[in-house]
């Protein structure tokens, strides 16, 4: 299991497009993927779940990857956050 903390830096936070980008990317991997925010925990492969986080700019999230391809999955997902989902 890998845990990784990220902070949202793009202006609009996680709206529909980034949410679908994250879930689509996550669904390419076999490992489980959870996102935690405060006391909330959701399945990172679900667009609805990610939207439910209601994560805006500067929100801190904990990403949890668990499974056979967790390393690759983590790198791929963290890159999305670093690239600000291709925005701005």
């Amino acid at each position: 299991m890998i845990k990784k903390n990220v902070t949202l830096t793009n202006k609009l936070g996680i709206h529909v497009r980034p949410a679908s980008l994250i879930s689509k990317t996550a669904s390419k991997y076999k490992s489980n993927f959870l996102i935690r925010k405060d006391d909330m925990e959701i399945n990172g492969k679900s667009v609805m779940g990610i939207m439910m986080l209601g994560a805006g700019k500067d929100t801190e999230l904990e990403l949890v990857f668990d499974g056979v391809d967790e390393q690759e999955m983590m790198e791929d997902i963290v890159k999305l956050f670093e690239d600000k989902f291709g925005e701005e």
Binding site: G13, V16, S46, V47, G49, M52, G54
Partner: protein
Amino acid sequence: MKEYIGYSIAPGLIAGNVTLVEWDIYKVSKGHIKASEVEEHIKSFQNAVTLSISEIDLLLTYLETRAREERNILQSHQEILKDKILIGDVAIIIREEMKPADRAVQEYFNRMIDHLSDLDDVVLSQRKEDFEDIKMRIIRNMHHQDIHIKDFVKENKVVVLPEIIPSLVLSIKDSHPLAVIVEKGSPHSHSAIIAKSIGIPVIFNIENALKEFKENDPVIVYGTEGKVILEPDDKHIKEYEALKKSAKKLFKEKIALLKTPTLTKDKTKIELMVNIEFPEDCEIPEVQYIDGVGLFRTEFLYFMENSFPSAENQSVVYKQVIENLPKGKPVYVRTFDVGGDKLQREFGLHKEVNPNLGCRGIRFLLKYKEIFRQQIRGILMASAYGNLKIMLPMIASIKEIIQSCELIEEEKALLRKKKVAFNDKIEVGIMIEIPSSAILADLFAKHADFFSIGTNDLTQYVLAADRNNEALADEFTYFDPAVIELIRKTIKAGKKHNIDVTLCGEMASDPIAVPLLLGLGLRSFSVNISGIIHVKKILSRFTIAELENFYKKHQSNSQEEMQIAYKQLIKK
């Protein structure tokens, strides 16, 4: 007198009396369902989700040539609709709380929206609009079968509706209203995009219209401005009449230009045709004066019904296009260009990593021959009434043309046996959009009655640049010398073998590209409806000789230089 401002959806100016239509398609059922009804309700919910997904597919196809920026947001909506958690959660509400399907959908999304609104973040709570949109789409698709627009809309009236449903936008105009005013509705909605093409003024988001307007009230509708004047006074009526007069004059000028033959400056005749998506597109005045339909996309036939219609039903649609056009004008019907990515579920196809390089176009049709046969039969049956041509998409090899022609001959034999009339000499041609067919155009020409160059796909395949990838859009264009060389080769091969060559891609409607194409020898253009006037005007400004020389001078240019040179040429 009272003035209302909403969103302009379709332009036009009209005065008339209103008729009010009240229905509430979004009103959800009350109470609880019985245990025995649970599965049926879950099924109805799942059907509505499937319908919503294919509705977005149709819209995405439609948007490809129109508003590309809208595509992203719709694609995300589709992702949400495909979310297993959403499907599961709604099913749980139906099963465990015994709520009717429409109510379960409403409650699920309302909980989401409430949750997001609590966050007290302006940007975030805007997101609830996306949820609202998806919620409405599912509920609407659950209810929409029950509504018949004809029962509501009256001829020669300005119709006022609470909401409008995409699937009914096209049928609304069969009742010939003067204009459509909608109380709620987003300019980015599915309905709005389709409403743009119904040929009458349409305005969305006139708040409280149904409450404040009374049956038969006089109004003036300013489609372009998105303005409605209720009970206009003398001043407004005078202004309206003056505007109407000058609009009439402008329209007359446009029609006068359309009526003149399409000629270059040296009087070379150019064939100017149009690309259409729906049979209704032919009713637009511009289309009445052009040389034909150079591309009739038929994919909507599938997406409308979520299944391939029978030969009989298709022939009705093809006949409708013929009848909407002046007699004798050619209509190039492109057979279904759909791929496995859209049809996976129905056909048990494997998910393709790259659908653009997968089983689409002619590959799909030759694999699912019955679908192909039905379409061929439909086109043949309608060919008795006008000048239809069969255009095969995504041809990569001569074998595919030969196999298609065999099927066409078999269908002809079948119709002959049944004594059904058809045009025995119907032309069968191919799209030139895969590089192999352009490289060997000289050989392919021996097997085709015409060529039609599709520049969007040709560019994508020559430069290995996904056409939907916006990051690549500016860098990889049809001004690339390799793409231009293949177009030149195709035109040359067509001339040598004496077959027609048309260009129906986006490039034909691009004012900068038109002089280039003329210089390459192209004499037939099939353009978007909105491009007709522009292209006609550009054409008339140059002589063929000057454009041939201009091309020769610039033929070894890079893509960027080419674009700059032609941009300057048309600026002069």
